[in-house]
Amino acid sequence: MKHLVMTRPKQPPAMVSSQREREADGVSEAAFDLWLQRSLHQLFDQVAKEPIPEELLRLIEENRRK
């Protein structure tokens, strides 16, 4: 009995090439997104984590007591 070997139909080279390009683009996009996210955190996180100025906290607490 002949075994039926399921093979993917052969695609024209142009289609295979554009498919690879799309896959490569997807990887590229994901890599850029990851880099951008990490880099923005590196730029901004330190500022966000700095202590809140005492003057500002005092302002809020004084308003709270009113």
């Binding site: 390009e21 490569a24 880099s39 500022v47």
Partner: protein, 193 residues
Amino acid sequence: MSDTTFHDQVIAILPKLRVQALALTRNRASAEDLVQDAVCNALSAQNSFIPGTNFAAWMHRILRNRFISNLRKRRDTTDIEDVPSSAFATEAPHEDRLALKELAKAMARLPGDQREALVMVVLNGMSYEALAEATGCAVGTAKSRVFRARRQLEAWLFGERPESGAALPRPLRMHNSNATSGGLAGQDFSARL
């Protein structure tokens, strides 16, 4: 909502307000002033906040409106050279610092609404719906701003994507002439909002 809860929420959101303020002003000192101004406005208007509604969006909106109001009064501009050195501090390795410096310059070149949108989504973890509410625009507009910001940064930092043979991002290009010639000095920031 009791007064205690309101004031606690103000204190809790301050780091995120700082991020938004820095994205808008591109200057640390101005960002701190803006946050303080916004907090003052919020405390004055606390009776207008409806308990149970989105406090973050309300607070971010106040800061944004205060920024626009200040801009119209003062026509503040920020020298792009001020942005990488004084706005951001990083202890990253040398090569990373170069890349971060380029990113900081590119971020400063973005239109203000796009820069703000990108930062609010990526750093403050806002959904597009929350961003739209915080910035007073449609959800589609909010999405578009983030998308355009991301795409523009990619184009500036990595160049146009090649037609074929696309691979992982190429090394950063130093857009020295584009980044400094003319800069952002003198440009009307409010026109971009």
